[in-house]
């Protein structure tokens, strides 16, 4: 494994650079919303910062981590070189060009429409074109992952694809489906409007298309974390994966149920009917299944490790686990936060209770906890696990790594618990300031300040993470190149059914479910078109 080493490092460093910028902006945004006067505080600056924070965290960071980690897995799990590495670099540079273009438009103040766009507001077209380039770059990655697995299967007929690679390809397939919605919105509606080729657009349609992408994209971010849960955490703990089959099933369930559920983002919208909202809510309820299955399987795997290390009794195995290893520690912290985040999610998905929390800080808290507490913290753990292999150097001590992970955990809890509470009090989202003189709002002040402190802890942790990685590059070369190993199952599979070794059948299922869940909801805009709205360009002139 050295072929894709530079490719992985390039992707990951770009991702983490964007992360560094976004963390700083995030803290400033919280400061601006708090009762403490913040510098440079104008709506223009605030919404510029929110756009930059969202684009960096939601698009640049996860996309490049997923791609970089995918290239790494393709080489290390399949134990064969990555096919067509030149295409991998082409995808990378497309993504770099797109990210730079988008960043330039944002920081020039010409794209303050947030990362979720909100047409009929439109930014400069080059903002969207930048993002489309990032997506096109990621499509190259999808193709390479699918080809790598197909070639391996050709060379190893009848053998089960290693779980880490099976999951990576599940993510690639899911991402191809996921991006259809936002790509259609941008290419057919928003970009023509931003260029001034059209002066009106159908807002209901654009919201529906975006919702197609909006839930599945979260699972795209999340799957590397789950790959680490299944294949890296049991190994790091010195044990084995409890069940390989459950792992495969989990990733298949993610593929199927992350897509026909996006309408839960539109529960409070007028343009979709109660019937289709109910149908998609039913399907949404099922995405709890892969998460709960994972919690069980990984806990059982950890128990296997704990008992192999001599732990006894009902809970003795927990104490026996090697908590000093970053991957084990992070898995524990991430599971803890996943309970909170997942529990909040169950409330959001129930359309009656959704009315209580829609567009309040509760939702902001929920997705920061899922994203920061499960996605990003596992990205840290993955980076700590693979960086020695990538650089050929070893961390001198795990202590600064553990400190950084603990700080992230503490910061995330301190930041999001007050947000949950404030959301229930009705604190709304996406505003640059609150009028603390209003008696309805005055009581929120102290809680907002507490969450700001959590944000500061996150800032310290985020910068420490970059410092830890940066430091490793300057450490002396290790005598023996550290290799990466993925956890074996307690009973490694010899043969698996075709349904658990590929995606042909599941693509048909996804297509059928998408037709059922989104067919009429999208067709209605063409069968009985609503009146269109005038485009509001945030860039002067047509």
């Amino acid at each position: 494994m050295t072929h894709a080493r530079r490719l992985t490092l390039a992707h990951m460093w770009l991702a983490f650079a964007a992360f560094g910028v976004a963390v700083v902006l995030g803290v400033w945004q919280m400061w601006a919303r708090s009762p403490i006067p913040a510098p440079l505080h104008t709506p223009d600056n605030y919404f510029l910062a929110v756009t930059a924070h969202g684009v960096s965290m939601a698009y640049v960071l996860p996309t490049f981590v997923v791609m970089g980690f995918g290239y790494f897995v393709a080489e290390t799990a399949l134990r064969r070189p990555l096919p067509f590495p030149a295409w991998g670099w082409a995808g990378f540079w497309l993504g770099v060009a797109g990210s730079v273009l988008a960043a330039a438009t944002i920081f020039a103040g010409r794209a303050s429409v947030l990362y979720t766009f909100y047409p009929p507001l439109t930014a400069t077209p080059f903002f969207y074109i930048g993002l489309v380039l990032v997506v096109v770059g990621s499509w190259v990655w999808c193709a390479l992952m699918i080809i790598a697995m197909a070639q391996w299967k050709g060379e190893n007929p009848g053998k089960p694809v290693p779980l880490a690679m099976f999951a990576t390809v599940a993510n690639a397939v899911m991402w191809l489906w996921t991006t259809v919605g936002v790509a259609a919105e941008l290419l057919f509606q928003v970009i023509p409007a931003a260029f001034g080729w059209v002066d009106t657009l159908d807002v209901g349609l654009s919201r529906t298309l975006f919702s197609w992408t909006l839930h599945a994209i979260v699972y795209f971010w999340l799957i590397p974390s789950y790959i680490a849960f299944y294949t890296m955490a049991p190994q790091a703990a010195g044990g084995r994966l409890y069940s390989d089959t459950m792992g495969r099933l989990t990733f298949i369930l993610f593929l199927i149920y992350s897509l026909p559920v996006g309408m839960h983002h539109l529960f409070m919208d007028p343009e979709q009917s109660t019937g289709f909202k109910f149908l998609q809510m039913t399907l949404t309820a099922l995405v709890a299944a892969p998460t709960l299955l994972t919690v069980f399987t990984i806990t059982a795997s950890m128990e296997v490790a704990g008992r192999m290390r001599g732990g006894t009794g009902l809970f003795g195995w927990i104490k026996a686990l090697p908590w000093d290893r970053p991957m084990v520690l992070t898995t524990g912290l991430a599971f803890f936060m996943l309970w909170f985040g997942g529990g909040g999610g169950l409330i959001n998905m129930s359309y009656g209770m959704n009315a209580m929390v829609h567009n309040t800080s509760w939702v902001t808290a929920h997705f920061h906890l899922i994203f920061g507490g499960t996605v990003v913290i596992m990205y840290f753990a993955i980076a700590y696990a693979i960086w020695p292999t990538l650089t050929g150097r070893a961390f001198a001590s795990n202590r600064p790594l553990r400190l950084q992970l603990w700080l992230w955990f503490v910061g995330m809890m301190v930041m999001t618990l007050p947000w949950h509470y404030l959301g229930l009090q009705g604190q709304w989202r996406r505003v640059s300031e609150f009028n603390y003189a209003d008696p309805n709002i005055a009581g929120w002040g102290p809680w907002v300040v507490v969450s700001l402190l959590g944000g500061l802890v996150l800032l310290v942790s985020g910068l420490m993470f970059l410092w830890n990685l940066f430091g490793l590059h300057r450490a002396p070369l290790a005598a023996r190149l550290p290799d990466i190993r993925y956890a074996l199952a307690v009973h490694p599979p010899v043969r698996v059914p075709a349904a658990l070794n590929g995606f042909r059948m599941w693509n048909v299922v996804v297509a059928a479910l998408m037709l059922l869940a989104y067919g009429f909801p999208i067709a209605q805009f063409f069968l009985n078109s609503p009146p269109e709205a005038i485009v509001h360009r945030t860039v002067a002139g047509n």
Binding site: P43, D44, Y46, F47, V113, L114, Y118, P120, L121, D202, V203, G204, R207, M246, L266, M268, D269, P270, E271, Q272, S273, T274, K277, F278, M281, T282, A285, L286, A288, A289, L292, L293, F296, T297, A300, E303, R307, S350, Y351, G352, A355, M356, H358, N359, Q425, G426, W428, R430, V431, S432, D438, N440, V490, H491, Q524, P530, P531, A533, I534, H536
Partner: protein, 180 residues
């Protein structure tokens, strides 16, 4: 501690049944709320042209605000525009069913009323509708909760919930904050 393949399979299946049970209970609760309490999301596929909203029909300026209809039903009509609500204060009676109707002539907006379950997006091209009963008197905040442009943060209105006895419509059936 399960160790044979069959035992592992059995524990996994057992857990899968628990998961199915959890999901099932949640769904039953939602269906029950729908059947017994008529909980519904605010769907309302009622088209209206945002470009002529101010020219024709029920959302022209003189029609906005709270009105007691001929059949006694209380309807509130409100426009969300960049960057204000019209009217900026509305009166509703405590403990009576109220229908809130919203639309917009320009971009996306959304509202919630603090301390209540009133929540809807306001999408150009549609009338958004919420049916509710306000249970407590007092002034509540109704902010715009969806990004609608740079003035979004300064966009909010007041909902004044008054005891039914103090809710007195004028000859035209209208009630406003100023008149009280």
């Amino acid at each position: 501690m399960a160790s044979t393949e069959r035992e592992i399979l059995r524990t996994e299946i057992g857990w899968a049944i628990v998961v199915a049970g959890v999901v099932g209970v949640i769904m039953v609760a939602i269906v029950y709320a729908g059947l017994a309490m008529h909980i519904n999301p605010p769907s309302n596929i009622e088209h209206i042209d945002p470009k002529t909203l101010h020219l024709t029909g029920e959302f022209t300026e003189p029609n906005l605000g709270t009105k007691v209809e001929a059949n006694g039903q209380v309807t509130v009509r409100m426009v969300a525009t960049q960057f204000a609500f019209v009217p900026q204060c509305l009166v509703v009676p405590e403990g009576k069913p109220v229908t809130l109707r919203f639309s917009t002539p320009d971009v996306l907006h959304g509202i919630l009323v603090t301390g209540t379950n009133v929540n809807t997006m306001i999408v150009p091209g549609y009338v958004s509708q919420v049916h509710t009963v306000f249970r407590k008197t007092g002034d509540l905040l109704m902010p715009c909760h969806e990004y609608c442009g740079l003035g979004h943060s300064q966009m909010w209105a007041t909902v004044r919930v008054v005891p039914e006895a103090e809710f007195r419509p004028g000859a035209d059936g209208k009630v406003s904050c100023d008149a009280r």
